[in-house]
């Protein structure tokens, strides 16, 4: 079959779902993007209220209420019988930050969908993924009539690290969205290569002083 990557789990094929996040400001086209490449289904999450939502979710008169319902978009892309990508549209407003950690946990990477007319709406997403060291790409959704910006101008405006890809896209078009996701996964692979090189360099400079316990953890012995 197509189990190209080595798996010691025995003969049974292993179902392998992976998360990608689609983030960005309000009404920037996240739902459009997810639905261009996958079948979108609604997902209700019932989230605990934290101080992050106080002032937004009116709790007057409902003192016992400690959860709130948030609807997320999610879509599946089935790449093979085992390999499935799950796209989650992440609500960008700050009041939903309390659920980002869960969504981001173990995610491969994220797309920050941005509208050049409202670039500042993408600041929270960019800040979040930078702080969590989650690889991300900026996808500029080319709305009809939106001014075309130079990639470098956008990079400056968002104060991006030089390695972060910036791509133009049309969130309505499968081919365009597919290219955004390919760019993201290539970026994840590049980050992985950098990380592996840094690990190797650190191991060399540390030399024989690396305690046996930690080297065993790294090699999985």
């Amino acid at each position: 079959m197509d189990s190209a990557h080595s798996s010691d789990q025995g003969a049974e094929p292993v179902f392998s779902p992976h998360k990608l996040l689609i983030a960005g400001g309000f009404a920037v086209g996240k739902t459009t993007m997810v639905s261009a490449i996958s079948e979108v289904r609604p997902l209700l999450t019932e989230e605990k209220l934290t101080t992050a939502s106080i002032g937004h979710d009116d709790l007057d008169g409902v003192p016992g209420k400690t959860t709130t319902t948030v609807a997320l978009d999610y879509g599946r892309i089935t790449l093979s019988s085992q390999l499935v990508l799950y796209l989650f549209g992440v609500p960008g407003q700050e009041r939903f930050w309390f659920m980002w950690d869960e969504l981001a946990y173990g995610a491969l990477g994220a797309v920050v969908l941005a509208d050049v007319r409202r670039l500042d709406d993408s600041f929270p997403s960019v800040n979040y993924f930078e702080s969590r060291e989650l690889p991300f790409v900026i996808a500029l959704n080319c709305f009809d009539g939106a001014p075309r910006y130079d990639e470098d101008e956008v990079r400056d405006a968002l104060d991006l690290d030089p390695g972060v890809p910036v791509v133009l896209c049309d969130a309505r078009q499968l081919a365009s969205v597919k290219q955004v996701l390919i760019t993201l996964v290539e970026h994840v692979a590049a980050r992985r290569a950098q990380w592996a090189a840094a690990q190797a360099a650190a191991a060399r400079s540390a030399g024989p002083r690396v305690p046996p316990a930690s080297s065993a953890a790294i090699t999985g012995r």
């Binding site: 990557h5 992976h18 997902l43 999450t45 390999l83 989650f88 499968l174 597919k178 996701l181 692979a189």
Partner: protein, 130 residues
């Protein structure tokens, strides 16, 4: 634009009967085993799930629906979507089923470590072939 009605008119005494999401869990909001399954945690029904033993009588229609959806390995997100129940409710019901032995958790969370080169290559090939 019409004037926004005062908020008081939307207080729950006047908003009519609503089935609260946690009604199907008997009011429980935390999974009985304390495990917070990830959205893409993988679960699957076990061979014990189908039997009409004593355990089955303790299960609600929602429990049975979850078992049906998990006959092949599936994720928490897919079960939540398939049952139209909030994720938090699905977590509580899944914990019940795990404790009954009707469902087992194949993978609790996605790995936090860097993905392997092989996996990334496989994903890229898959995306390019779309």
């Amino acid at each position: 634009m019409t004037a926004v009605p005062p908020r008081e008119s939307w207080k729950r005494h006047t908003s009519g009967p609503v089935v609260r999401p946690y009604a199907v869990t008997g009011g429980r909001t935390e999974p009985a085993d304390g495990e917070m399954l990830d959205l893409i945690a993988v679960v699957v029904a076990t061979s014990k799930a189908g039997g009409g033993g004593g355990d089955a009588s303790r299960r609600s229609p929602e429990h049975r629906k979850i078992v049906d959806l998990a006959l092949a390995p599936t994720t928490v997100a897919d079960i939540a979507s398939g049952t139209a129940l909030p994720v938090g409710v699905v977590r509580v019901l899944l914990a019940d089923l795990v404790m009954l032995g009707a469902v087992k958790v194949v993978r609790q969370r996605p790995a936090r470590e860097m993905p392997s080169d092989d996996l990334l290559r496989e994903i890229l090939n898959g995306l390019r072939a779309l």
